[in-house]
Symmetry: C2
Subunit: 244 residues, 2 copies
DNA sequence: ATCATAACTTGACCATTGGTCAAATTTTGA
DNA sequence: TCAAAATTTGACCAATGGTCAAGTTATGAT
């Protein structure tokens, strides 16, 4: 009876419960921030005792990191989906920016949570395994974007002499993350006169691409029309694209 | 005796002690993150009792926000100093980017702390007065940059038809913040092959300016020579500029 | 010099919460 | 039907943010 017939079901139930915990914790974390909830609340919400929670996660930080990694995985999934959009390289980066918008709609406060976790004292308290998972997902995002950049340089849409692919990837990731964080900031939105923060995210991505010399330039293409095609083909259930 | 002769000294002593508390708390916050220290540790470090700390700050969050606002004030000061650099508009944005490098050197973990504080549950626990102070400092940064952009559009260095000044400001603030955060990320630095993160920060600022169509373009100017002039004239004690 | 009052400082104490573990409960397979 | 194994539980502990009555010091009038 080394592998009983029940072990498979057990494993499935265990995984399902972990899902449940992650789902509830995700709500708490994104709505209230790391400090805004406690493990007793969560135990009550999932209808298991606290001890059971600690059978899945070795600390509150470990759990929060797992939640973030889950979000990041979805982000990577969206990136990969976007990168398969049929079109020129420049349109495909635009699709990546659209993936960011799709992600931001589903996880509006992800980056705050993420930044909180990056503080030394948090990161240390999570398990090494969980940290590794997070690194893996982060690198998936990175590689998806980098792939498009390499291709663009090979085709000649993006200058090869001016910038190295890693530098371009770094620039685009930076502007995307920065725009997200800033766009979610209430006061800044007012100052910037932003009505739709997600348009601003895509716009900033465009500007960075222009800076990289990525052809065609943003003022040579119809962004809105491109967005409509991308949404139709890749994110049909998107809610964030306003009609013109 | 409505205003005794001692009241002035008292006020001075009070202010001095607040400085002391902020200085120590700043060390703790930037080295260990919000969770990495407690009020007892801090009380011991400043050699006052915990009760006295709470005469200055109404909660740990309130104190942490005050620390961040202090950092942000220094950031704004550096921005204003940089904006007075004698040179073309494009050189002056470069000077702002240099101010960011100067700031990042002195406050390497500022943005992590800042992001942590932005979580709902933190922000709520700080006093309204302290939150207002923070808003004021944030808007100083914003306005300094915006001023240069308006000037550049007036002179004709920056196209007026393509983008509104607030949009340009938003784009540059976003890329700066994003670059900072990403540049401090160990794993990403490896992937991006970055040896000096602060060069990458300035480079991204350059690329965004290029995207905005800000003349002269980055490939038409000698960035390193510009940096040397900026450092000599505005940040003479800077340590972050490598010789060519 | 003395003293009543005001201003300030202190640290014992409280409530909350992350984390543990012995005991209780349930499941398993014979 | 039952003993052993696996799982779940929640009382309990330690750490820590925050309070406040008691203690200490400074003040200015006499």
């Amino acid at each position: 009876m080394s592998t009983s017939i029940t072990t498979a079901r057990r494993a499935r139930e265990f995984a399902a419960r972990e899902e449940l915990i992650l789902r509830e914790a995700s709500k708490f974390l994104l709505e209230r921030g790391f400090q805004g909830w406690n493990m007793d609340d969560l135990a009550k919400a999932v209808e298991y005792s606290k001890g059971t929670l600690y059978q899945h996660f070795e600390s509150k930080e470990d759990l929060a990191l797992a939640v973030c990694t889950g979000s990041l995985q979805q982000r990577s999934d969206l990136f990969e989906k976007a990168s398969q959009f049929k079109g020129g390289t420049r349109e495909r980066v635009r699709a990546i920016c659209c993936a960011c918008c799709e992600f931001a709609t589903a996880h509006p406060d992800y980056f705050h949570a993420e930044m909180t976790l990056k503080s030394v004292s948090f990161w240390d308290k999570a398990s090494e395994e969980r940290r590794e998972d997070h690194r893996i997902q982060a690198s998936r995002c990175w590689r998806t974007l980098q792939q498009i950049i390499i291709e663009a340089q090979a085709i000649g849409d993006l200058p090869r002499d001016r910038i190295k692919p890693e530098e371009a990837t770094f620039a685009l990731i930076s502007v995307t993350v920065g725009s997200h964080i800033m766009a979610m900031e209430g006061d800044l939105r007012v100052m910037a006169g932003i009505t739709d923060p997600l348009i601003a995210v895509r716009r900033n991505g465009d500007l960075m691409c222009d800076g990289l010399g990525w052809k065609p330039m943003s003022y040579e293409m119809d962004s809105h029309e491109t967005d409509e095609r991308i949404v139709r083909e890749v994110f049909p259930s998107a809610t964030w694209l306003q009609p013109r």
